[in-house]
């Protein structure tokens, strides 16, 4: 050591490419100590509560056998959820939650990977980290390992939690979910090499996930056993073709492993061929002269891409769900309990209406995520110090904030309207009532947005808590009705007060009171914003 200390280390450079990975991994897990447990926990909760729900719904084997028979014959339902392979509670659980739990695992994985790769590079933080004893491949490896940890924990929870339904099925399902997660983690690692913007990388990878969902849906509507080529193209299709709890096809796990490995190799190859901070999609030069002249115009410029993305997404969702409506209603009609659930979620009259109402309600809940994200742009602008020079101009805080809030609140209206138009295209009937049903969601969406404004204005440090509000509302709306959550708790969500449309009777009370409440929240938030210090 003493002799070596004076000499330079002349080991070949290649041998240290992963130096520092362990430190970076610990650091990443430390940064995500809240994010990973919450996301993984919500996903596991959703999955592990399902056997109970199913046992309540279909309490005899005969009921379950009938469900199996019905779904096998219903293309719309298969497209929505996938084919069923067995009538055991375990198999039904894997069927009912598989696609959605897989998609959620994929979302968590892609967010984690991009957060620890492109986000770090874009912000310039990576540069300082990379100047330390950190190998060229360390940060990508640490990001992928972080996603691997999250997926392994999910697999562990699912395997342990569902073991009662059959140990090997539980293991297969847990591994399958983790497999979907890792396929999208490595896919995100590739996409992150192509864009300089983390936001764009997230959007593109999420778009690929959406494509995987649609391919599987198309394949499953065409075939009742998951054998369509379209299904086999989609990692979400592999999850169903794993046939957990139904004579597992273990070799399907190899597909996940092969895809993740292949994509990982591609990602490392690409990463090694580019400069730090650069990307394969070059940034085009912008105009030398600007036309932006107001804070409002700037807000629109910053948010228009996201508004466009949400608009397309909601319109397509409307088309897809609208197109499935007739088929699904046929199926649910046969089961009294399922009908009851749909009715509790959606409406009293006619199953078609009940299905429509529950789908519209679901889009309304998702729109709450849009509105929170859009409102919190204010927070992002403030904490990144980009708001400071704007507010040092002749722009009042109120005007600056309103520029973003108009986009948040009117944008929510726009995407719900487009969802309604999508339903009109996909379903073709009841255009007026469905449009109305979509717009009736807005008061509740706005209340969530109002809460976000209030938090941002009054408690800026807790502003990201608005995501928690949106998440809680989402959870109550999705699992609440199926889990027999007491009405008092359901009433906490503004969505719980909306009339169930189409089908149910219009109730003007909440539709008038909630916007007033939202307006009050926004006003209180803005009043707080005017009084408080800006973050420095």
């Amino acid at each position: 050591m003493t002799a070596a200390a004076t000499a330079f280390d002349v080991r070949p450079a290649g041998s240290r490419q992963l130096a520092g990975t362990g430190t970076l991994l610990r650091f990443a897990l430390r940064r995500d100590r809240l994010m990973i447990p919450v996301w993984v926990g919500v996903n596991a909760l959703m999955i592990l509560s399902m056997p109970n729900t199913l046992e309540n719904l279909y309490d005899s084997p005969a009921d379950r056998a009938e469900l199996l028979k019905d779904t096998a014959g219903n293309a719309s339902f298969r497209a929505l959820i996938g084919p069923v392979f067995d009538d055991s509670v375990g198999a039904l659980t894997a069927w009912r939650v598989g696609v959605y739990a897989g998609a959620l695992a994929a979302v968590v994985s892609l967010l984690l990977v991009i957060r620890h790769t492109r986000d770090e590079e874009e912000s310039g933080r990576h540069e300082l980290v990379a100047s330390g004893m950190v190998g060229r491949r360390a940060s990508l490896t640490a990001a992928l390992l972080t996603a691997a940890v999250a997926n392994a924990v999910l697999a562990l929870l699912v395997t342990a939690g569902l073991a009662g339904q059959g140990a090997s099925g539980a293991l297969a399902f847990g591994l399958g979910l983790a497999g979907v997660g890792m396929v999208f983690a490595t896919l995100a690692a590739i996409v992150a090499q192509f864009t300089e913007s983390a936001r764009l990388a997230r959007g593109l990878t999420a778009g690929l996930l959406g494509a995987a969902f649609v391919l599987r849906a198309a394949g499953d509507s065409a075939s009742d056993d998951g054998s369509s080529a379209l299904t086999w193209v989609s990692p979400l299709g592999w999850l169903e073709n794993l046939r957990s709890f139904a004579d597992e096809r273990w070799w399907v796990l190899l597909l996940f492993a092969a895809a993740a490995l292949l994509q990982g190799v591609v990602a490392y190859g690409l990463a090694g061929r580019r400069d730090v901070g650069m990307s394969f999609l070059p940034t085009r030069p912008g105009p030398a002269l600007g036309r932006l002249g107001t804070a409002g115009a700037l807000a629109w410029r910053l948010q228009r891409g996201s508004v466009l993305g949400w608009s397309i997404g909601f319109f397509l969702a409307g088309v897809v769900y609208g197109g499935l409506t007739d088929g699904v209603a046929d199926l649910v009609g046969d089961n009294a309990n399922a009908r009851e659930i749909f009715e509790r979620m959606g409406g009293q009259a006619g199953l078609t209406d009940a299905f429509l109402a529950s789908m519209v309600g679901m889009l309304g809940l998702i729109a709450a995520l849009y509105v929170v994200g859009s409102v919190l742009r204010l927070h992002g602008e403030e904490t990144s110090m980009r708001a400071e020079p704007i507010l040092a101009g002749a722009v009042s805080r109120l005007r600056w904030a309103c520029g973003h809030l108009v986009i948040a609140f009117a944008g929510a209206g726009l995407i719900m309207l487009l969802a309604g138009l999508g339903f009109a295209v996909g379903y073709g009937k009841e255009v007026g009532p469905i449009l109305g049903a979509c717009l009736v969601q807005l008061p509740a969406v706005w209340v969530v947005g109002g809460l976000a404004v209030l938090l941002y204005g009054v408690l800026p440090r807790a502003a990201v808590g608005a995501w928690g509000v949106a998440g809680a509302v989402l959870l109550l709306g999705w699992v609440g009705p199926a889990l027999d959550v007491p009405q008092v708790v359901l009433d906490l969500s503004p969505f719980g007060h909306l009339p169930k449309l189409p089908g149910g009777g219009m109730e003007w009370g909440p539709v008038l009171v909630l916007p007033a409440l939202a307006a009050g929240l926004v006003a209180a938030g803005l009043a707080g914003l005017r009084r408080r210090d800006m973050t420095t």
């Binding site: 874009e122 107001t294 804070a295 700037l298 980009r386 040092a392 210090d533």
Partner: protein, 311 residues
Amino acid sequence: MTKANPAIEVSGLHKSFGRTHALDGLDLDVEAGEVHGFLGPNGSGKSTTIRVLLGLLRADSGGAQVLGRDPWTDAVEVHRRIAYVPGDVTLWRNLSGGEVIDLYGRLRGGLDTHRRAELIDRFELDPTKKGRTYSKGNRQKVALVAAFASDVDLLILDEPTSGLDPLMEEVFQRCVEEERDRGRTVLLSSHILSEVEELCDRVSIIRKGRTVESGSLADLRHLTRTSVTAELAGAPNGLSRLPGVHDLAVQPVERGQGRRVRLQVDTDKLDAVLRSLSESGVRSLTSTPPTLEELFLRHYQDDGPEQVAAR
């Protein structure tokens, strides 16, 4: 100096963040038409003061007037006549520099397009690049071009040249001089003392949220010591007994009666020292006024302000 028309008037400003007292009775007077240097060590409250002047923070107590108005209640009116350049400019990743310059200009009193073009040329800025591709210095230039091309009365510059190369630093100094020649007021917070010495009519030095010194550079120099080195024909007489003389050192010069004398003297006592020296026959004399750097160090070091306060 027209006391009647101050651009910035701050008195007894207090601001706390939790337990930290960022500003502890700060005073600042910037007269219209002057370039005012705003100096202080890191964390002394310069940026906090500037954010109060911009109405981004609300002072706990004390008064602040910018261009004759309250920056908190009349923020928009004040900002119409202000251009601000932060020390760390953050841009939107997908907007070009040119777009941002025009946006900033329109959010103020407006932009002089000829001046904009001229400044872009002088600062050698490519306005078509997107925010994320600019280096630190170039991000700084975006904000500087927008500020100097804006039609405003007061420029508030918070360490505006961080990241600029010496050539650009030169361009910056010329721009500030042009602004002064047009009768605009500049508040310049900076750590580059040569820049402050070159540009500023008056300076305020703050420490731990308080103003410890304020005045013209000449005034400030007056408060400190001048170093004197002299070669005398004979031995100095009674020099060490004179008030205001410090660090006196006398050495014999090779061959003869001559003495070399080095000393520090409080600048306002210089006259008596020179008299005393000339009694011994001065062969050569150098006298160095304190540099701003020495001034600065005196105030920045922990015992600095007490000495000044004791005076």
